[in-house]
């Protein structure tokens, strides 16, 4: 009897030390784990000394978005687009897209992203601009970085309503909710880096070039 018991005991693995180790490792790893995924946005910025005029040989075909405290100026070539219908007749500086809620608490909420997107998608529909991918972003010196990131988000993808997932190009939207529930148009394209063909979101004006902060706006 006694001998049998002894045998049984030696057969069992002693898991207690491993268990101790695992119990210590789990909280340690849980503390260091990151649940938010971090991605990056590629941007470029030309070198320019302060106050110098832009080079004279500038290509005429350029799209510029200027973010100021009043709203956005969308500049096509060398002239700003006229104000969108809801922004006309406000007097003062005629920005292309005026503020949506000037009294909003969060900076990002003040701007009319929907109108900006609609202006851009309309421009993209123009065959002359269909192949254009670059957008120059310029902001006032005190515009917070969050607004800039949001502007890059708006210019990045062509969007459609979720039920139109076989669309080949983006459409405009009539309400903010509609735009927020929209999905990016996904088409098969070839990745310029790897040369692999895959289904990926269709860009609107995805190449962002940052300009120096404007000094004309406060």
């Amino acid at each position: 009897m006694a001998r049998f018991k002894k045998e049984e005991e030696s057969n069992e693995l002693s898991l207690v030390p491993i268990l101790n180790l695992v119990l210590i490792l789990i909280p340690l790893l849980l503390l260091s784990v990151v649940f938010l995924e971090i991605t990056v946005i590629n941007v470029t910025m030309p070198q320019r000394s302060a106050g110098a005029a832009p080079p004279s040989g500038e290509p005429p075909k350029r799209l510029q978005i200027m973010i100021s405290r009043e709203g956005f100026w969308v500049i096509k070539g060398d002239r700003a687009l006229p104000p969108v219908p809801e922004c006309t007749g406000r007097g003062g500086q005629q920005v292309t897209v005026c503020l949506l809620e000037p009294d909003a608490e969060l900076e990002v909420e003040k701007y009319n992203w929907l109108a900006l997107y609609n202006t851009l998608i309309e421009l993209k529909a123009d065959p002359q601009w269909a192949e254009h991918e670059q957008v120059e972003l310029v902001a006032g010196p005190d515009i917070p970085f969050g607004v800039l990131v949001k502007a890059m988000d708006v210019t990045r993808y062509q969007l459609v309503a979720p039920d139109m997932d076989d669309a080949i190009k983006g459409s405009s939207f009539t309400s903010v909710d509609e735009m927020n529930s929209a999905i990016a148009v996904r088409v098969e394209s070839i990745d310029p880096d790897s040369g692999v063909s895959a289904v990926r979101p269709l860009g609107l004006f995805p190449l962002v070039v940052l300009g120096l902060p404007t000094t004309t706006t406060q």
């Binding site: 990056v40 302060a50 990016a184």
Partner: protein, 199 residues
């Protein structure tokens, strides 16, 4: 039959009874002691092993470390970060590779630290630090036979004014950096196109 004999017999019987009782008691005792208590830890070990593997997998996957006092913006970008020179602009300072370089005053670089005073775009201390870093990376590139790419990731707080971002970027450009990336938090509603967190 004498009484002593009788007594003897009685004593023997009593002795026997006593021994029997003792044996019974011992027997009962042996039977009633529970078998040595053992927890079945197998299922728990299985669970823990799975959790451990999962956690180990996600450990150290992040090439970018976000420092305290830095609120990242949400974005729909899907480009994954790479390991490279990282500059963090927190609410209080500019940090390069986890070393504080410039202390900010109300989210501005003190004008004594800028080339050309208030309106200057080059931050002097940052430029010195960046040049050292570039030198290091170029040496490393030479030794490994690769090329110095001049890539930089900027991790900036949401509220950083654009002026400061531009200053940091111009300083970096002056020290031979060419490609820039802004670190952002991937929006949970990636498929839905635009950031729901910001609106």
């Amino acid at each position: 039959m004498s009484s002593p004999e009788m007594h003897d017999f009685d004593a023997e019987a009593a002795e026997l009874r006593k021994r029997l009782k003792k044996k019974q008691k011992a027997n009962r005792k042996a039977r009633s002691t529970p078998p040595e208590a053992t927890l079945s830890l197998n299922s728990m070990m299985d669970m823990m092993t799975i959790i451990l593997v999962f956690l180990l997998k996600s450990y150290g996957q992040e090439p970018i470390k976000v420092l305290p006092k830095t609120d990242l913006a949400f974005s729909t970008s899907e480009i994954m970060p790479k390991d490279m020179t990282v500059i963090t602009i927190t609410q209080e300072s500019i940090v390069m590779m986890e070393q504080e370089i410039v202390k900010l005053e109300d989210r501005k670089v003190p004008k004594t630290d800028k080339k050309g005073g208030e309106g200057g775009l080059i931050i002097q201390t940052l430029e010195t630090a960046l040049r050292d870093e570039v030198e290091k990376q170029k040496n490393f590139a030479r030794m490994t036979g690769s090329e110095f790419e001049g890539e930089m990731t900027i991790v900036a707080d949401q509220g950083t004014p654009y002026r400061l971002i531009a200053e940091v970027m111009q300083t970096a450009i002056a020290s031979e950096f060419k490609k820039f990336r802004f670190a952002v938090i991937k929006d949970v509603m990636v498929r839905s196109g635009l950031s729901a967190a910001a609106l």
